[in-house]
Symmetry: C2
Subunit: 245 residues, 2 copies
DNA sequence: CGACTTATTGAAGGTCTTCAACGCGTGTGG
DNA sequence: CCACACGCGTTGAAGACCTTCAATAAGTCG
C-alpha cells in the first residue's frame, strides 16, 4: 500500500499532467508569468511536454517554425552551421529559457539537447492567436526577444574583439550570473557542455579552450573540481572579461 | 516671385513640419506603418526630428534609455566599446531602420552618425503608453526586434566562424540586399562607411579589410569605382560568403 | 597648393589553429 | 574480472591567418 508521501507524489504527478502550467517549475521564469492562474488552462491547452536525450534535435535550421519552446529542465544548444560543417553556437538554454522566438516562417537555427532535457512545446499559430486576448503575452515576448538581442550584442563584442582568455572568462561569468539569477549558488559553476561546444560558442577551437582553462588555473583564477565543477575568482575574472566597472 | 514648383516645394515643407509622419519618406519602412492615417497625429505628437553631422553622437552607452529613433536619412553606426578602447560595431542603420529598441533602462550601446543624418526621435515612455491603444505597434516592435535578433545571430556566425574573405563578401552582400529591399539598385553598392568602421563591424583590422578588398578585386569578384562605389559579382560572392544555396 | 585624413602595401610578429600523440575515465563483452 | 575500445580532455610542435608596426600613396578641404 502507498505511504502518505507516495500518495502525495502520485497526486502531484496527476496534477502535472492535467494542469501542467499551474505546477510548472519554470513558470515564474518565463512568458507564462504573464498569464493569471484562471486563464492558465487556455495556455495549457496548446502545450505539449517533450523529453529529449542528449544529441536529440528539437529544431532544425530551415524547417517551418511551427512551435515555441520553453526549456524546463536540462541544457540545450542553439546553433547555426556553414555548408562545410563549421558550427557557431548562438547560445545555451537552460530551465526557464524560451527558444524559438522568431517571427519568421522558418527556424534560423537548430536546437539540440546536450543533457537529458525537458521542454514545453507551444503551437506557434495558436499562441499567436491568444495574443489579442492576452496582450501581456505579446509584451512578454517582446521583452524576452529584446533581452536576447542585448545578449547577442554582447556576444558580438566578445566574438569580434576579445582574446581567448577574455572570452573564456566572460563565458564563466555568464554561467555564474545565470545561476545566480535562477537562485542557485553563483560560485562553483557546473559545465553541462563539453569543450567542443564551449569552443563553438566562443569562436575558438577545442584545443584553445583547453589551453585557456589550463592557463587560468595556473594563474589561480579558476579551480577545476570533480563533475565538471569550476570554482571562480569572480573579481579577477570580471576584471579580465572586459566588464565595465 | 515664386515659381509653381517652388510653391509646391514650400507647401511640402510646411506640411512636413506640421504633419511630419504623414509625409515621412521612411514611414512605410518602419513601425509607423502600424498606425493608420487618422491616428498618425497621436504618433506625431511625441516625435521630434533631429539632424546630425558626421561624428555626432545620438545615443551613449550606459545613458538612461529615454528615446527610440527612426533613421530617416543617412548612415549611423551602433557600437560597443571595451574599457581599453577596442570597438565592436553591432550594426549600421540606414533610412527606415529603428534604433534603440531595448526594453532596458539604459542604452546598451552608443550610436553615432557616419554621414549627415536625420532621425525621428520618439519619447520612449509616451510611446510605451500608446501601446495599449495600438497593440499593432507592440507587435510591430516585437517583429522588428525579432528581425534584428536574427540578423545579430547571423553576425555571430560571421564573427565566430568565417574567414576574412568570407566576412567581407558577406558584408558586401548585406549592403546589396539592403539596397534591394529599399527599392534601390542591388548591384553597385555605395560604401557610406570607412575601412575602419568596416573592420570594427567584421572583427578585423583596417589593414585586413583593405587587403581583402584588394584580393577580391584581383580575383574579379568586385570592382572599385569612384565615390566609394563597388560593383559586385553577386553569384560568386554569395558562394564565397557561406550562404546556404 | 599644402596639411590632414584615409586607404594601400610591405615586413615582422603573435595568437590561435591544425595536426598529432597521449592520458584518463567509462562501459562493454569476452 | 579484466582487456580493450571509445569518447573526451590535455599537451606538444608546426603552421596559417590575421595583426601590428611602419612607410607610402591617394584623396579632401581649407
Amino acid at each position: 500500500m502507498l505511504q502518505p508521501e507516495q500518495k502525495q507524489a502520485a497526486r502531484a504527478i496527476v496534477e502535472r499532467l492535467t494542469e501542467p502550467c499551474a505546477h510548472c517549475d519554470a513558470r515564474h521564469l518565463s512568458v507564462c508569468q504573464a498569464v493569471e492562474d484562471p486563464y492558465l488552462e487556455q495556455l495549457a491547452a496548446l502545450v505539449t511536454t517533450i523529453e529529449l536525450a542528449p544529441h536529440d534535435t528539437m529544431v532544425t535550421e530551415g524547417d517551418p517554425a511551427g512551435h515555441y519552446f520553453n526549456i524546463t529542465y536540462g541544457t540545450v544548444k542553439i546553433y547555426k552551421l556553414l555548408p562545410d560543417g563549421r558550427q557557431q553556437i548562438i547560445g545555451f538554454s537552460f530551465a526557464g529559457d524560451f527558444v524559438g522566438l522568431s517571427v519568421r516562417e522558418n527556424y534560423a537555427y537548430s536546437v539540440e539537447a546536450l543533457t537529458p532535457a525537458r521542454a514545453c512545446r507551444f503551437d506557434r499559430k495558436r499562441l499567436e492567436g491568444l495574443l489579442t486576448k492576452f496582450p501581456k503575452i505579446e509584451h512578454q515576448l517582446r521583452s524576452q526577444t529584446s533581452d536576447e538581442l542585448a545578449i547577442a550584442q554582447d556576444q558580438m563584442l566578445l566574438l569580434g574583439r576579445k582574446t581567448a582568455k577574455e572570452r573564456v572568462a566572460s563565458f564563466l561569468l555568464q554561467l555564474s550570473h545565470r545561476a545566480k539569477r535562477l537562485g542557485q549558488p553563483a560560485n562553483p559553476v557546473v559545465l553541462t557542455m563539453g569543450r567542443a561546444d564551449i569552443g563553438d560558442y566562443l569562436g575558438l577551437t577545442i584545443e584553445t579552450v583547453s589551453r585557456t582553462f589550463t592557463k587560468l588555473r595556473a594563474e589561480k583564477l579558476i579551480a577545476l573540481g570533480a563533475n565538471n565543477t569550476v570554482h571562480l575568482e569572480l573579481n579577477a575574472l570580471s576584471e579580465l572579461s572586459g566588464a565595465w566597472n
